[in-house]
Every structure is written in structure tokens, then in C-alpha cells.
Symmetry: C2
């Protein structure tokens, strides 16, 4: 009989988020699970890493095949802590989420959920981020189980190329069942910010960030497009910001 895989679970909505609890439930059927989650929500923390203050993880639950830690760190910190201190061996898989809200297209750059995935991928650990296209705290996750099992088992069986993780976004629940899974590119969409201007009780001006999402990318094989058509989008991701196509055209004398 083969040894059970060791799966590290984290997220960026904090330890109490329903999306995390759902992902834990699913993963406990697939392997031994260690959860390392932040005490508070870390949405929008991107790849932030804690270097000026110490990290204090606490083991809050332990039973056969299961450990759960909470920390004062970011999702990136949590993966680092797992790899180097809290796990007794390198995990076979890191999963992050299920995020309450989209991490498709531009959203990945602000995402703590996906930072955890990239952090693992950089170290050669297969990693998957799961996000639901519904940012509400009480989002309905009842339709996601079989899809997440399917994608996770594929990665556990086949692995991923060195340095590559998966960014998986799942349509919110609707009357129409999800049509399937498509492997696609990150869309070139963006947020157009609107800072709302207000006055505090002392008359000082402050701004609160809002905005609306604009997808100007009309290609068919993008995450935004297939999500709009009620497919799950899977974008293989890696960490390389180099604009390769531009390397040869930019020269200094």
C-alpha cells in the first residue's frame, strides 16, 4: 500500500473562512493534511513577506493524519514556515483557498492565495490555488467538491513541471451545471480604480479604494472568457516577470 501524500493547506481569507474549511474537508479524503492559516484575513496581501517582526505559529488541533496551525503571518510566510519548520518533510502538494472571490486575470497579482502557490512552485513543490467567483463570506461551495478532487488527483498522480503551479477559478453556483475544465491563459484585464473621497471626524480627507473590472481582452482562450461561459479555468502559472518578446528590441549604446 502506498504512503498517503502529505498536503499543506493554506489560504488568504483567514483560518475561519468557509472556503478554507471546505478545502480541508476535501483534502482530508486525499491525504495527510497540515493546515497553516493566518489568524486574520490577508486578502490583498499579494506576495508580502514578514521580515521586520517575528512569526508565532500555534498548533490548535491535532489528530491522526491532521494538524492545524494558526499564525500571525501572510500566506507566503505560512508556506515558508511549513516548508522549513512545521512539517517534518517536504509536502507532496500545497493547496491554497478556496478563495472567496476571483483570482482570474489581473487579480492574481494582488492575491495572497496565489502567492502561496507561487511560493511553493518556486521551491519545486506542486501547488494549486482554488478560487470561487463569489467573494461573499457566505458563498455557496456546495458544487465544487468533485471538480477539486479531479484536479487535485491529477496533480498528485502526474505532478507538475518544475516551477509551475495552477491557478484554478470556479464559477459561482447557478442553475446551469459547470460545463467542464479548460486550460487557458491569464486574460489581460484590469481594475479601473475609483477612490471614494470622504472626511474623517476631524475634517481630514481620506480615500477608500473601490473600482470596477474591465476586460479588454477579446481572445477566446483566456480565463475570463471560459469562466463567463461557465467553465472552470485552469491557468498554469510560474514566476518570471521577464518580457521575453521585448528583450532583443531594447538596447543601450
Amino acid at each position: 500500500m502506498s504512503k498517503k501524500p502529505l498536503i499543506l493547506v493554506t489560504n488568504d481569507d483567514g483560518v475561519t473562512a468557509p472556503g478554507l474549511r471546505k478545502l480541508i474537508d476535501i483534502m482530508r479524503n486525499l491525504g495527510d493534511v497540515v493546515v497553516i492559516a493566518s489568524e486574520t484575513a490577508m486578502s490583498g496581501m499579494a506576495h508580502a513577506v514578514t521580515i521586520r517582526t517575528p512569526l508565532m505559529p500555534r498548533l490548535i488541533k491535532e489528530e491522526a493524519g491532521y494538524k492545524e496551525f494558526v499564525t500571525n503571518g501572510t500566506p507566503t510566510d505560512n508556506v515558508k514556515l511549513g516548508k522549513h519548520r512545521l512539517l517534518n518533510r517536504t509536502p507532496d502538494l500545497v493547496v491554497s483557498g478556496i478563495n472567496h472571490g476571483s483570482n482570474a486575470s489581473i487579480n492574481i497579482i494582488y492575491s495572497g492565495t496565489m502567492a502561496a502557490v507561487l511560493e511553493a512552485a518556486i521551491d519545486g513543490i506542486p501547488a494549486i490555488g482554488f478560487s470561487l467567483m463569489d467573494y461573499m463570506p457566505d458563498a455557496d461551495f456546495s458544487h465544487v467538491d468533485d471538480w477539486i478532487v479531479k484536479i487535485t488527483e491529477k496533480v498528485l498522480d502526474e505532478g507538475l513541471p518544475e516551477g509551475v503551479g495552477l491557478n484554478v477559478n470556479i464559477p459561482g453556483i447557478s442553475d446551469e451545471p459547470i460545463k467542464g475544465i479548460k486550460v487557458v491563459k491569464q486574460a489581460k484585464a484590469r481594475w479601473v480604480e475609483e477612490f471614494e473621497e470622504r472626511k474623517d471626524p476631524y475634517g481630514r480627507t481620506y480615500y477608500w479604494l473601490g473600482g470596477h473590472f474591465v476586460n479588454g481582452d477579446h481572445r477566446t482562450e483566456t480565463d475570463e472568457k471560459v469562466l463567463a461561459d461557465n467553465y472552470i479555468s485552469v491557468v498554469p502559472v510560474k514566476f518570471d516577470f521577464t518580457a521575453h518578446e521585448y528583450l532583443n528590441s531594447f538596447k543601450f549604446d
Copy 2:
């Protein structure tokens, strides 16, 4: 006579950092300057964005062709505030830095300096991040002026392709003058973390993040390689995490 370019200056080491003051001095010779900098150091904040608390910028200095704001936000917030609220028109250029310490190779993913650059590039604004390979607060910036002027003037004159910014790293001062500028790729290097374990005054275990840098990338045309040879590295960067080379080989039934 042509109108002066409008240059937005930010950084991630905070408003008092010598690297920022040096960059401001250089840019004031090249155009009208608006500084939007964080009150406190934001190193390691990556692309973090403030969504749960309000932002309160304060104008602390104003003279002909110059304004300086401090904020309680991250570098990404500062660029967003500039674009949407604090500037009366879209800037011609965003510059970020001069960072105290390398943003070459893996370091870009944790970098607030480079997050500001990517944030601008996403909105089609030419942007350059400057970093010195010396993380000390009293780092010597006396050898950088002419190089920064050369790179900045090129970008002001020629622009950059839509969505592309520059990640510029400058060797620390040494007896040997800098040899020149090379346009290269981001090296596949990484940090190997070492969490130091300590006890707090109440006996609780905590960890402090340290680590050492490992460059396993032996290609010649990378930022790490040319920096080691005392060249300035320029990596054209853009925001797309898609692992394009892997798109066609990963399939679901």
C-alpha cells in the same frame, strides 16, 4: 519649448530613505516631480494593496514643479492614489526606488519597489524601478546619477511598449567603475530560508525569517550574472504569470 514631463516618484523604503531622496534630486532635473511615498518602510510588501482601511495622504511640501505627499499606504496604493487622485493628469513616467538592496532575480516577487512599477505598467504608464545592490540604510549612492539619467532619458524619449516596465539593478560602489548596461533576463535564483527559533519572555516559541541566496542559473544573459560582472542589469518586465510553454501539454479529459 516642449512641456516638461510629469514624473511620479515612489519607493518602498519609506519617505526618509536616502535612496528616495537621491532619486528625487535626479528626477527634478528631468521634469516636474510629484513624490508619493509611504511614511514607514514597506519592504517585503510585494504587490499588497490596502482594501480594508482608508488611505490618508498628506501634502508635506510644495514648490514650483514639485509636490511631495506621504501616505499610510503601500507602494501599489501610492501609484493608484497618484493616478486617480493626487495628480492632475496621467504621469509621463513612474520611477520607484532607489531601493536599498537587490531586486534582481527572485527578489522582484517580494518587492514593493517593483510592484509600483508593475502597477503603473498595467495601466500603460512607462515605469522604471531602480535598486542598488546594497541594502544598508547608509548605502553609498554617489556613483549612480549618470546611469539613472541615461536610462530615464531613453525611456522619456522613446517610451516603452504597452504594459512593460524596467527592473534596473545597479552594482554597489567599488574601486572598479561600472562597465555599462546590459538588457537581460530575470535569473532563476531563489532564497533558501532559515527560520531562527527563539523564545519570547513568556516561553512561547517564535521564528524570525532569515536565509541565504542561491543562484542555480548558469545562463550568461541573466541579471545576476551581469551584476556579478559589474554591469547594470535592465530586465524588461510585464505582468503575466501564464506558463505559456506548458499550456498545450496539460489537458483534462
